[in-house]
C-alpha cells in the first residue's frame, strides 16, 4: 500500500494541517468574535479573548445602519452568477477547441491567454474605464460583469482544457463513426463526462468573480443601488466612527450563501464520472 503511514508521520501530517488551517481560518474566527462584541469593547485594553458580554445585536443593528445591505448582498451574488454564466458560455466551446481541434497559432493563442492572466485588473483600469464609457456601460451592472468575464475567460480555458483532454478520444471517435456531429458529441458525450470539470471551473470562476468585483465596483459604478457587498461595506465607515462589529457581521452574512452553495457542490467535485469508460 502506497498510503500507509507510521504514527509519527500521521502526527506530522495533522500538525502541518493544523498550522495551515489556523492560518486560513483564524481571520474568520476573529471576524466572528468581533461581530459578537459591543463596539466599545473592541478597543478595550488589555485585549480580552473571552468576555461575558457577547451578543448578536450587531446582526440586527447592521440592517439599520446600512439600509441597503440586503440589496448589496443580492448584487454581489447576482453579479457573480452572471459573470460565471457568461464566462462558461465562452469557455466551454473555446476549451473544447483548444483540447481537440488543430488550428494555426493554437499554442501561441494559449500563451497569450496565459500572458493576459499576468495582468491584474488594476493595471488596466483606466483603459477599461474609457472602453466602458464609450460603450455607455458605466454605472450599470454590465460595468462590473463585462470586465469580470473578460478577465476570467483565460483561466477558465486553461482549467477546462486540461480536463477535456483527459476524456478518451476514442469516445468521440466512436460517436463520429456513428454519424454524430461535433456539437452533438459535445452535448451528449463530452459535456456530461466533463461535469466534474465544469463544476470545478464554475466554482473557480465564481470565486474569481466574487473577489474581483470590488475593484470594478468602486471604479466603474457610482450608482448606490447597484453596488456589491464589498463596496457596500464602506458604508459602515461613518464620519465619526467605524462600526467594526456590524461590518464583520455583514461580511459574514454576505459570505454565508456562497459557503452554503459550496457545501452542496463539494460532493460533485470529487465524483469520478468516467469510471467504466475505458478499461484501465
Amino acid at each position: 500500500m502506497m498510503d500507509r503511514y507510521t504514527k509519527l508521520q500521521i502526527v506530522g501530517i495533522y500538525a502541518c494541517l493544523a498550522i495551515f488551517l489556523t492560518f486560513i481560518l483564524l481571520p474568520f474566527f476573529e471576524m466572528f468574535m468581533a461581530s459578537l462584541r459591543p463596539l466599545e469593547h473592541l478597543f478595550r485594553s488589555p485585549y480580552q479573548f473571552w468576555s461575558d458580554d457577547f451578543s448578536f445585536d450587531a446582526y440586527k443593528q447592521m440592517w439599520v445602519t446600512v439600509p441597503l445591505l440586503g440589496r448589496y448582498i443580492f448584487n454581489s451574488i447576482y453579479i457573480s452568477f452572471m459573470v460565471t454564466g457568461l464566462t462558461m458560455i465562452f469557455v466551454v466551446p473555446a476549451a473544447y477547441a483548444f483540447a481537440r481541434l488543430q488550428f494555426p497559432f493554437k499554442n501561441a493563442t494559449l500563451g497569450i491567454f496565459l500572458g493576459v492572466n499576468m495582468f491584474t485588473g488594476a493595471v488596466l483600469l483606466i483603459p477599461l474605464y474609457r472602453v466602458l464609457r464609450t460603450l455607455g456601460l458605466l454605472n450599470t451592472y454590465w460595468a462590473m460583469i463585462v470586465p469580470g468575464v473578460a478577465f476570467l475567460i483565460p483561466t477558465g480555458i486553461w482549467l477546462l482544457r486540461s480536463y477535456l483532454e483527459k476524456i478518451p478520444r476514442e469516445l468521440e471517435e466512436a460517436a463520429f463513426v456513428d454519424g454524430a456531429s461535433r456539437l452533438y458529441t459535445l452535448r451528449r458525450v463530452v459535456l456530461p463526462l466533463a461535469t466534474p470539470g465544469l463544476i470545478v471551473v464554475g466554482v473557480a470562476v465564481f470565486i474569481g468573480a466574487y473577489a474581483q468585483q470590488f475593484l470594478f465596483a468602486i471604479t466603474f459604478n457610482q450608482t448606490r443601488e447597484l453596488q456589491p457587498l464589498p463596496a457596500g461595506l464602506y458604508e459602515f465607515i461613518g464620519y465619526q466612527s467605524v462600526t467594526w462589529n456590524e461590518m464583520m457581521a455583514a461580511a459574514l452574512v454576505g459570505v454565508l450563501p456562497v459557503m452554503i452553495i459550496f457545501l452542496f457542490l463539494q460532493k460533485y467535485l470529487v465524483a469520478g464520472l468516467t469510471a467504466g469508460a475505458v478499461k484501465e
Binding site: P168, E170, L171, E173, A174, A175, F176, V177, D178, G179, A180, Y184, R188, V189, P192, L193, L273, T274, A275, G276, A277, V278, K279
Partner: protein
C-alpha cells in the same frame, strides 16, 4: 452487405510513410483479419477504411462505390474500438441506441432494433445497467451491439479482445465467429494475435512495415508462407529458421547443407537459387519426430504441457531450435537428442526472405 476494395492506399505522417501502396480485394461476407506486429500499420489501415484517418493517396471502394472522401456513416461501416469506447454516463440501452438517436429514428423502430441486438448478444437483462457495472466481456458485447444496430455493410474491429483475459478471449472468439455467421456480414478485424487470426479468419492479411506480406487463407499461410516473415509469424511455437547453404540444385529440388553439416534434399522450386547461395531452412516445431538419424540437438529447456513437450535447444553452431514432441517423450534437459524431419515439410527461404515454393505440400484451393 458488400465487398470492400482498397486500391493503392498509402499513408504518411509527415515524412514517415506508414503504409505503402496497399491493394486488397475483400469479398462480400468475408471475415478478413489484418495481423502483424505492433507498428506495422494495421490499425492505421483500419482507421483509413473507417474514415477516421485520411489516406495520403489511394481509393476505398465499398460495395462498388468510391467512398474515399465520404463520412464514416455514409461509407456504411461501423467500428468496435479496442477500449470499447462505451459512454459511461449512458445506460447499456442508450449506448446501443446511440447511433439510432443520431439518425433520429422513431421510438418504436429504435426500440425494436435495440431489443433485437440485445437478444443476439444476450444483453436483454442488462439494458438498464451502466457500462461500469458490466464485466469486460459484457462491455465488449455492448460495443458490438452498438455497431450492429445500424445494419452496416462492413464491420470493423480494432483489437477488440486485447483487453480481455485469456479464458474470456477464447470464449469471445467463438462468439464473434458465430456472430459473423448469424449476421452474414463483411468483417475486417485487426489483431496482433496470430491465434485469433488463424481461428477466425476466412482470409488473413499479414502486414509488416506498412506492406502486405501475404493475403490468403489461414492454411495457405501455414503451408505456403510467401516470405520468411509470414512463416515465422504464423504458427505456434514459431517456425525454426536454420542458416544453410545450397549444395546442389536439380529439377526435383535443392540440396542444402544445414548449419552443423547435416545435408537434406528438399523438394522445392529451384529455379531462383544456385550452388553456394545462402538460404534459410524453415522447420515447424510440430513437424519433427524423434529418430535415429537426422538433426542433433542439445536440449536446454523442456516445457511439458501434457499433450506435448516443447523442447528448446541448439543445433550446429548454436542455432536455436524448438521442437514439439509427444507429451511423454523420453527427453531430459542437458541431454542430446536426434530428430528427423520429412524433407517435404521443410521450407526454404532465399537471402531476400522470399520462399522457394514447396512442391510436395498440400495445394490449397483458393
Amino acid at each position: 452487405m458488400a465487398t470492400l476494395d482498397l486500391n493503392a492506399i498509402s499513408k504518411s505522417f509527415g515524412s514517415a510513410k506508414v503504409l505503402h501502396d496497399i491493394s486488397l480485394a475483400i469479398e462480400d461476407k468475408e471475415f478478413v483479419v489484418f495481423v502483424g506486429p505492433s507498428g506495422c500499420g494495421k490499425s492505421t489501415l483500419l482507421r483509413i477504411i473507417a474514415g477516421l484517418e485520411e489516406a495520403t493517396s489511394g481509393l476505398i471502394i465499398i460495395g462498388g462505390e468510391d467512398v474515399s472522401n465520404a463520412h464514416p456513416v455514409d461509407r456504411g461501416i461501423s467500428m468496435v474500438f479496442q477500449s470499447y469506447a462505451l459512454y459511461p454516463h449512458l445506460s447499456v440501452y442508450e449506448n446501443i441506441a446511440f447511433p439510432l438517436r443520431v439518425q433520429k429514428l422513431d421510438a418504436a423502430d429504435m426500440d425494436s432494433r435495440v431489443q433485437k441486438a440485445a437478444a443476439i448478444l444476450q444483453l436483454t437483462d442488462k439494458l438498464q445497467l451502466k457500462p461500469g457495472q458490466l464485466s469486460g466481456g459484457q462491455r465488449q458485447r455492448v460495443a458490438i451491439g452498438r455497431s450492429i444496430v445500424r445494419n452496416p455493410k462492413v464491420f470493423l474491429f480494432d483489437e477488440p479482445l486485447s483487453n480481455l483475459d485469456a479464458a474470456l478471449r477464447g470464449d469471445m472468439r467463438v462468439e464473434l465467429s458465430q456472430l459473423h455467421r448469424e449476421l452474414d456480414a463483411t468483417m475486417v478485424y485487426v489483431t496482433h494475435d496470430q491465434v485469433e487470426a488463424m481461428t477466425m479468419a476466412d482470409r488473413i492479411v499479414v502486414l509488416n512495415g506498412g506492406r502486405v506480406e501475404q493475403f490468403g487463407t489461414p492454411m495457405e499461410l501455414y503451408h505456403h508462407p510467401a516470405t520468411k516473415f509470414v512463416a515465422s509469424f504464423i504458427g505456434q511455437p514459431n517456425m525454426n529458421l536454420i542458416p544453410a547453404s545450397v549444395a546442389g540444385v536439380d529439377a526435383s529440388g535443392v540440396m542444402v547443407e544445414l548449419d552443423g553439416g547435416h545435408r537434406m534434399a528438399l523438394p522445392v522450386a529451384s529455379s531462383t537459387v544456385s550452388m553456394g547461395d545462402k538460404v534459410e531452412v524453415g522447420i515447424r516445431p510440430e513437424h519433427v519426430n524423434m529418430g535415429d538419424s537426422g538433426l542433433d540437438i542439445s536440449v536446454n529447456v523442456l516445457e511439458r504441457l501434457g499433450g506435448t513437450s516443447i523442447t528448446y535447444g541448439t543445433i550446429g553452431n548454436g542455432t536455436r531450435f524448438c521442437a514439439a514432441l509427444p507429451g511423454d517423450a523420453a527427453i531430459e534437459e542437458g541431454r542430446n537428442l536426434t530428430l528427423c524431419v520429412a524433407p517435404e515439410n521443410c521450407h526454404v527461404f532465399d537471402a531476400n526472405g522470399d520462399v522457394l515454393r514447396r512442391q510436395a505440400a498440400p495445394e490449397m484451393v483458393a
